[in-house]
């Protein structure tokens, strides 16, 4: 094993290795971005939701609902952008059920979120019954050719910067927007105040319930979009339970990001990246047991979390203090 690692390091020191590996590295980054995008969508939505003080464990269910309705809409109309819109709104509708239950009827957030996942898995399977085995036209990449004239790396760089499908850029935009919203905008500050101390936010006169409603709905919108990305772009098909646990990973990423949008991207790329890297290492025939390689993304996420969590004060600043607690206006 050690010998193997040493020889790999030795080969990696040579310039020939890097020249020959460049296309592979670039290709891997492309694959990584696609793997990270549904996680970025869902995690950004959940982050805003949690920042308002609401913990919604129903991300997996909302993703599946988004995936199936988005696929169905596209299959019927042949219009992929419309499908994405439907995916987002159906995710938001599912989130509304959760919002009414937890915010108006004060039901337990953790249990209601899990119930939403069960509900979503069942509903999506039922709706998707007629769409198994159907095909749609995939949303392709938008190749904007601006850097073609740059010598040597022009083509690769062009692909790297502009060769993704449009939704990758949308995800990044939403992430940036969310970051701006939380840190720079007035409503973002109010949302954070609601999440940190609902009682005082209410006392000042902010509509706590309405703000949380909006945040939960945004969470559903994004989860639905993430689901739609899976069924319309990532793998243009509908199959039961096709999210296969990505909603849970998105939830973990919010914690990993310590409730800061920029770190969501870091987490999603780390998780998606290690997943792709371990597959690459397998394909290259490195000879490390595949079952251990498959554990890597999970273990690495824990390890990195431990490193970034050691600074306790900074984490506490970001974690919404009211997360998961029901709020009822006293007067």
């Amino acid at each position: 094993m050690i010998e193997l690692i040493l020889t790999s390091i030795m080969t990696m020191m040579t310039p020939e290795f890097w020249i020959s590996a460049t296309p592979l590295i670039l290709a891997s980054i492309m694959t990584m971005m696609t793997a990270a995008t549904p996680l970025v969508f869902a995690a950004t939505g959940e982050l805003i939701c949690e920042r308002s003080g609401v913990l919604n464990l129903g991300v997996e269910g909302m993703m599946l609902i988004g995936a199936v309705f988005g696929f169905a809409a596209t299959a019927v109309t042949g219009n992929a952008p419309l499908g994405l819109l439907v995916a987002a709104t159906s995710g938001a509708s599912a989130a509304l059920i959760f919002a009414v239950l937890t915010l108006n009827l004060l039901s337990n957030q953790v249990a209601t979120g899990l119930a939403l996942t069960i509900f979503g898995t069942g509903l999506s399977a039922l709706v998707g019954f007629d769409y198994v085995g159907k095909t749609i036209d995939q949303i392709g990449s938008i190749e904007i050719r601006v850097l073609n004239n740059v010598p040597i790396v022009g083509d690769e760089l062009n692909r790297l910067l502009f060769g993704h499908d449009p939704l990758v850029y949308l995800a990044l935009l939403i992430l940036l927007g969310s970051s701006w919203f939380l840190n720079r905008s007035r409503w973002g500050m109010i949302l954070r105040a609601v999440g940190d101390s609902d009682v005082s936010a209410h006392a000042i006169g902010y509509p706590v319930i309405a703000i949380r409603f909006a945040a939960v709905t945004f969470g559903g919108l994004m989860a639905g979009l993430g689901g739609g990305y899976l069924s319309l772009v990532y793998t243009p098909l509908w199959a039961e339970n096709m999210a296969a646990g990505r909603g849970w990973i998105a939830l973990a990423l919010v914690v990993f990001a310590s409730w800061r949008p920029a770190r969501v991207l870091f987490g999603a790329i780390l998780f998606g990246g290690i997943t792709i890297l371990q597959l690459n290492a397998q394909a290259a025939g490195l000879g490390i047991p595949a079952s251990f390689m498959s554990m890597l993304p999970y273990i690495a996420t824990i390890v990195v979390l431990v490193f970034i969590s050691r600074d306790a004060i900074r984490i506490r600043l970001n974690a919404p203090a009211c997360l998961g607690r029901p709020f009822r206006a006293e007067r």
């Binding site: 290709a27 198994v132 243009p236 098909l237 199959a239």
Partner: protein, 358 residues
């Protein structure tokens, strides 16, 4: 093949109408336990097609039921027992992990016949059956070697069990029969069904230079990921041509229907007996989807290979076969034995570019 079965079924049906006095008016209830949803378009889908064939051909005498999404583990025994309790007299349990639960339930219901897919333990009322999918993999290996320009083939594997290892080996042997230098890169995804992950594996393999993708997982995702880049690939379990019009070369078809109809007829006639069935192309349990997107000479070669396997003239595991260590495991001119070599296969043949997970 389908025709002969259909004829047999028709003959049976008319025989039974004639002998209506001796046959009870109650329909025979046949139950199925599925590991996934019939909507997976893979393994469970293929079994459900088999069930529908029973419905179509024997619908007047038989009623079928299925329980889907039964996880291997504590729930399996209950689901099987429930079918037995509700009057099902023939029960197909269609995943390996149902082996022990099937045997346990069979002990409690001696008058019910059980059919367990891919297992190896039989009992008086438990038969086992499986298909020689490796026959199709050999044909695919030959096609891949003919078509590949890079000489590298990407193989997406689920779990390191004999069935999957056998498939990789058969594919490799097929490829080597055309081009001894062919390379097969293997990625284990440790899942039967996770479309995005299957797609990722396909992309990674293509990134590393594979220009043909083949899979032993259940969804269409890998095939589609390949199609997106214009890379040729093979379908799995059923014809997936609608997902890759221009790039699917062929697909292995799991054709359980004829066996299911035959066993149901056996129970109806009272001639059912336990045993182990391991059928391939000969009896039609394994089929090949049309050879598409390839030059006609390659299609002809594939057809010829499949035909010689079907008639029994050729066996994919014909020696000389060497393992990765270079040891001769099957002598020249000999054929690998079903047991133990094929059934318990846990080694790679020479040339596979991977280390078998232990």
């Amino acid at each position: 093949m389908r025709k002969t079965i259909r004829l047999a079924a028709l003959a049976l049906a008319s025989a039974m109408t004639l002998a209506a006095g001796t046959v009870s008016a109650d329909k025979l209830k046949v139950g199925f336990i599925y590991i996934g949803p019939p909507g997976d378009h893979g393994w469970t889908y293929a079994h459900d097609q088999g069930r529908l064939m029973i419905d179509n051909m024997l619908g007047d005498h038989v009623e079928t039921t299925f329980v889907e999404g039964v996880p291997e583990g504590p729930d399996a025994e209950r689901a099987i027992a429930k079918l037995a309790e509700t009057g099902h007299k023939l029960i197909f349990t269609t995943s390996f992990g149902y082996m022990e639960p099937t045997l346990k339930v069979a002990k409690r219901f001696p008058d019910v016949k059980f059919e367990h897919a891919t297992g190896y333990k039989q009992a008086d009322n438990v038969a086992t059956y499986s298909a020689r999918f490796y026959e199709g993999r050999y044909v695919q290996g030959q096609i891949a070697a003919k078509i590949s320009k890079s000489g590298i083939i990407g193989y997406i594997a689920s779990f390191p069990i004999p069935e999957v290892v056998r498939g990789i080996n058969a594919f490799m042997l097929g490829a080597q029969s055309i081009n001894p230098d062919m390379k097969v890169k293997v990625v284990w995804v440790y899942t039967w069904f996770d479309p995005p992950k299957e797609a990722d594996a396909a992309k990674v393999l293509m990134d590393q230079g594979a220009d043909i993708i083949t899979q032993h997982t259940d969804s269409t995702a890998a095939l589609q990921a390949a199609a997106e880049r214009g890379i040729y690939a093979f379908g799995q379990a059923s014809d997936m041509i609608q997902f890759a019009q221009d790039t699917q070369l062929t697909a292995i078809l799991d054709n359980w229907g004829p066996y299911y109809v035959k066993r149901t007829v056996d129970v109806l006639m009272g001639t059912w007996s336990s045993g182990d069935t391991w059928d391939g192309m000969g009896p039609g349990m394994v089929g090949m989807a049309p050879y598409t997107n390839m030059p006609s000479d390659i299609a002809m070669m594939a057809r010829a290979t499949a035909e010689s396997i079907r008639t029994g003239a050729f066996h994919p595991f014909t020696g000389p076969i060497y393992n990765q260590a270079g040891e001769l495991v099957v002598k020249a001119g000999e054929v690998a034995a079903d047991f133990p070599m094929l059934a318990t296969m846990n080694f790679y043949v020479q040339g596979v570019d991977d280390k078998l997970p232990e």
